[in-house]
């Protein structure tokens, strides 16, 4: 394999791994948060406004972890700095 092929393969595999592993944690956490919020609303329907608002803000905070992974994946695939470096070095 040439250097370029190694960089390409490593970037693609790492991008897949990043989004795969990075989405597990937020998925588990969000599922737990929603389950807890649902049971909380079932227990206290009067407080559903407050619970829903807090739930949304919390979900967004949790989800941002997955979003960071997504951004890193996008950078690895589309604006990979190492890829451009090696293309320049190879004179392509």
């Amino acid at each position: 394999m040439t250097e370029l092929a190694i960089v390409a393969a490593a970037s693609i595999i790492t991008a897949g791994l990043t989004i795969a592993i990075g989405s597990i944690g937020p998925a588990l956490g969000e599922g737990r948060a929603v389950a807890q919020a649902l049971s909380a609303i079932a227990q206290q329907p009067d407080e559903s406004n407050t619970i829903t608002r807090t739930l949304f803000v919390g979900l967004a905070m949790v989800e941002s972890t997955a979003i960071y992974c997504f951004v890193v994946t996008m950078i690895l695939i589309f604006v990979n700095p190492f890829w451009n470096l090696f293309v320049e070095r190879a004179g392509g």
Partner: protein, 276 residues
């Protein structure tokens, strides 16, 4: 490198990844950032899609609210526009009051502007040809920097420079670096969260158009509208929470003093009971 995507020619010249990127033929539909769309260039002056659509959104908001507020009525019959604006202002006031436990007057303009700008630009992404400016990291970084500057300003105004700076030494001076890092990282998180959410909507729409072009992208667009509204709400609420935490420390220390006094008086009462 200021372009997110290499063109087809560059890909063909460089080989390697060409097959993968070329197989999906994503280049025409997918532009990760509207920064890369340069519409007009004259010397160093460069007009890209982000700037254009930011100004479009600002002009839309300004002109619409100017037209509506030009003739306000206090009678029983309201115009439609006035009803919409009044509802918006009331809702934002209520949310600020709930989140910060303070009177919204001072914060209404900043929080309301942030919410309206982000919500409008996210909602307008349903219009064909419109690139939401919030899908560019430059715009979201600018918004996050506004928050980064505004939070200390409100804090200093509320409790003075010393009082605000003392907050960084809470609970102990060892926490000083962590407090500073937290300040910076939450600014970064604000910017990247909004950018990532809006950008992922665009990317997913582009990918789905190549895989299932018929009906499914519409559903994802609707989901994107929901996400856009929620992200605007979250940006505004998080800003309010940060401002509240910067301005509220004074009140909590007052509350602690009150609690300590109550505890002291309780103990003295108990002592009196123990030793009559």
């Amino acid at each position: 490198m200021n372009r997110w995507f290499t063109t087809a020619d560059e890909n063909a010249a460089s080989g390697g990844m060409t097959g993968l990127v070329g197989a999906f033929s994503l280049e025409p539909t997918m532009n990760i950032s509207p920064d890369s769309l340069v519409l007009w260039e004259w010397g160093p002056v460069r007009l890209n899609a982000t700037i254009l659509f930011t100004w479009l959104v600002m002009a839309l908001l300004t002109i619409a609210s100017w037209l509506i507020t030009r003739r306000l009525s206090t009678s029983v019959t309201l115009s439609r526009g006035q009803a919409i604006l009044e509802t918006l202002v009331t809702v934002v006031q209520g949310q600020i009051r709930d989140a910060a436990q303070q009177e919204p007057g001072r914060y209404l303009t900043f929080i309301g502007t942030l919410f309206l700008f982000i919500a409008t630009s996210n909602l307008l992404s349903i219009v064909p040809g419109f690139q939401p400016p919030t899908g560019s990291l430059s715009t979201t970084t600018a918004l996050a920097l506004c928050v980064f500057v505004t939070v200390p300003l409100f804090g200093i105004r509320q409790q003075g420079l010393r009082g605000y700076l003392r907050q960084y030494l809470q609970p102990s001076p060892i926490m000083l670096p962590f407090n500073i890092i937290g300040e910076i990282s939450r600014t970064l998180a604000l910017a990247v969260r909004l950018f990532g959410n809006v950008m992922s909507g665009t990317i997913i729409a582009g990918v789905l158009l190549t895989i299932v072009p018929l009906f499914f992208p519409v559903i994802m667009q609707v989901l994107g509208l929901v996400t856009g509204m929620i992200q605007a709400y979250i940006f505004a609420i998080l800003t309010m929470v940060y401002i509240a935490s910067a301005t509220r420390a004074h009140q909590t220390s007052q509350a602690q003093q009150v609690r300590a006094q109550m505890r002291a008086s309780d103990e003295s009462n108990q002592k009196e009971q123990d030793h009559p």
